[in-house]
Structure formats: C-alpha cells, structure tokens
Amino acid sequence: MNDTSTHSGFLVAEQVCKQFGSQVVLDHIDLSIDKGEAVVIIGQSGTGKSVLLKHFMRLIKPDSGRILIDGQDIADLSFDDLVPVRRRFGMLFQSAALFDSMAVGENVGLGLKEAGEMSRDEIHDAVIEKLEMVGLTDAIEKMPSELSGGMRKRVGLARAIAGNPEILLYDEPTTGLDPITADVINDLIVDLNEKLHVTSVAVTHDMTSAFKIADRIVMLYRGKVEFAGTPDEIRSCDNEVVQQFVSGQADGPIQVR
C-alpha cells in the first residue's frame, strides 16, 4: 500500500527466483494478476507451479525478487505481519492437506476459531454454510481418513473459503478426481469467481478445467513464463511448447526426463 511499485496488479510476482539446493525452480518469474481475474497456471509436473503458488502466501520465501499483494511487498514480512495478509487468502492444497487429527467440521472451522473473532455458534453456522456449498454437510463429524479423494478436496475447498477470502489459490483442484466430480469442482470455482468476485489463481494440468475457469492461462516452462494469454489465444498460438502441452503429445520440444 505504501510501496511504490511499477506494477498495478493486485497479485504481483516480480523477478522471483527460487532454487532448492542446486536445482533452479523459478528463474526470474514476472507475473501480474488483476483484481477479480481468474488465472490458471499450467505446466508439466515438477516445473514449479506449486512452488510459485505458495509464494503468493509467502508459504515459500523467494531467494530474490518481490511478491506484491495489493501493492505491499510481503517477501520479507515477519510471521506476525503476514497474518493479516494471509487472512485475505484461502488455499486449496494439492493433497487437500486436511488436518488428520481433526474431524471435517473442525478442519473447516479451525482458521475462524484461531482468529478468535467469532463465537462458537457463528463459527458453527459458517462451517455448515461452507460445507453446504461443497455438498458435504453430512460429513461434518467424519475424520479425513474416512473420506474419498474427491470428498477431501471438497472439504479442503470449504476450509479455503471459510474466512470469506478475497483471493483463492487452488493447487490442482481436479487432479485425481473422476470427470464428474472434477466438473463439480470446476463449477464451484467458477461460481465463487462470479458470485464472490474473488481473485483466483489455479494450478492444473487438466486442460478442460483450465479452459473452463480461466480468464487467462499462464504456462510455466523451465522456470520461466513461456506463454500468457486468454484461452482463445492459447488455442490459436503457434508456440510449439504450448501446443505440445495443450494437445498432450509425447513428441515435441518438451522432453520428459
């Protein structure tokens, strides 16, 4: 808010670099996302999509570069200063990441409970409301180990939206789900974007899902943004890397190592 930035975006990654040991995962990434926009990040497994997504909530700290959220650089904030920033976000994790020592209802309500701003009844109502949105009110007492993969993702989604966030991050929301459940999740995401006017960033390699939810698709390749454009632009572009990925072919510039 007080930071003088050259970008006007709501979520901005500026020259972000990240490496683990000697493995360079993000190599000077620049990405600017507008308020209310739905961006989908695509790319091969292991290219750093999850790593990039986690940077926006500073779950991973960049080696260099800036992460601007609504103009505020969060790259060097302390844990306590990050709390209000993180409360603006909700995140659905790749593995759903439900707390396996807690029942579904407690999972969804934990963030509200720990924030300490709502009464028990208010939290309970909020939990029911969110579980209704994902169609899982019956599972409120169940433990995560009793749920199927699709149900876990939906509980993860309910937990992500529990605090009515402005920004939603989805890490592979439909991977590993049957096509019907996947479509239910896609619809939920589209609904949230339209009704709640959230800004969203989704990581996926499910192109059906990507075309359905994206205003803009960004392709990561070898630590860099290879392409960024609308779904129509990506369908019609002649970048070979993009075309190979979108059409799902083994032959092409992308070699599976």
């Binding site: 779950l59 993180r86 439900l98 605090g163």
Partner: protein, 259 residues
Amino acid sequence: MVRPIRSLGRQGITLVNAFGGMAILLAQFVYSLRKIHRSLPLIIEQFYQLGVRSLPLILVISIFVGAVSAWQAAYQFKFIGAPLRFLGQAVGKATVIELAPVLSALVYAGRVGAGITAELGTMKVTEQIDALESLGISPVRYLVMPRIVACLIMVPLLVTFANFVAIMGGLVVSVMGVNVSSETFLFGFRDSFKLTDFLAGLTKAGVFGLLIGLVGCYEGFRTTGGAEGVGMSTTTSVVTSSVLILVFNFVFAMILFRL
C-alpha cells in the same frame, strides 16, 4: 583418501546447520510462550499424549532398572567383600542421580521423540504445516510449543515416578533375592538420600525433556520426501536426542558432582 574427509566435512556442516536450526527453533519456542494462554487446551492434550500415556512404559523399565541395580550392586559387594547392608545406599544413589533420569530419558526419546517427529514429519510432507500457516496459525505456537512444554514438564514428573518405582524394584530384589531386609534397605536409602541429588536429577530430566522435544520438532519440520523421509527423520531424531542426552549427562556430572 580425500573422499572420506570430504564426507566427514559434509557431515560436519550438516551438524553445524542442525544446531543452528535448533537454536533458532528454541528461540521461536521461547518467543511463542507469550501466547501460551491461547494454547492451553493443546498443552493439556499433549500432557496426556506425551505424559500420562508414557506411564506404563516408564513403570516397566523402572522396575527392571531398580531390580538389576540391586542385583548388580549385591554381586559387586560380594566380590569386594563390602557389607550388604549398604545395598540401599548404592541403589538409591545410582537411581536418583543417574539411572532414573538417563534411562527414562532414553526410553522417552524412543517413544515420544520418535512420535513427535513422525507426526510433524507426516504433517510436513502432506502440506498440513503449510495449511496451518495459510490459516494464519503459527506452527510453532500451535504444534511446537505444546509439545516442548509437555516434554519439559512431563519428563521430570516421570523421572520422579521412575525414582520411586526403581527403589521399589530394588527393594523387592534385595528382600527376595539377596536376603537384605526391607528395613535395612530403606534405612540405607534414607541415610544416603540427599535432596540436592534428587533436584539435580530433576534438573537433568528437564533439560533432557527440552532436548527431546526440540530435536523431535526440529527433525519433523525438516522432513522432506514422503513416507521414506518421515522414516529417516524419525531415526535421526531418536539418534540425535539419545546422543545429546548422554553428552549433556556427562557435562552435568562434571558440573554438579565435582570430584
């Protein structure tokens, strides 16, 4: 010739990194104590998980620790011709100063230290730690602080319990196996008992508890690489805290029991 040296150097660097990391975690733990009131239910839960549930194990090992120390003391006494009426003194001293704190701590590292690392390590590799942070919850306050506090308080309490049980174990062996009356044994124990020994044992127990909790949490948070990674960090956790317990114990001996 060069390779083993290089490997040794690499292990040295890992060790220095690990101690640095543990020191940082310790500082974060201390800092998180300012919000201890918000974690009280979690701490009470850990008192139960890490303390109460360790009682049966401590009970069993302490009986046998007391029993074997009485037996071995009697055997040594016979060998050097010392009078058996000093059995209570020997068993009492050995138990209160060394055996109860050290052996309880080692067993506790195997049960509780391993459990903490496996649990936090699994949470780490399944992104549950990230999920906590994403909800604005500090993993140090929510996970680390309750566990270290529980270890810090529970290990001294368990050692007090272990002292009592081990003396009873020693008593049973001396009455039934060595033919020393319970009056003689208990008189010897009381005669040699010093409150400062007991307190020194408890101080050690507190430090061991802190080490076990700290190493357990540190190794859990460092875990990468799925189930295999969890197994590896659990092993590292138990080995590291066991070695540290014995090293610290020797340092304590030199400080507290000057020759």
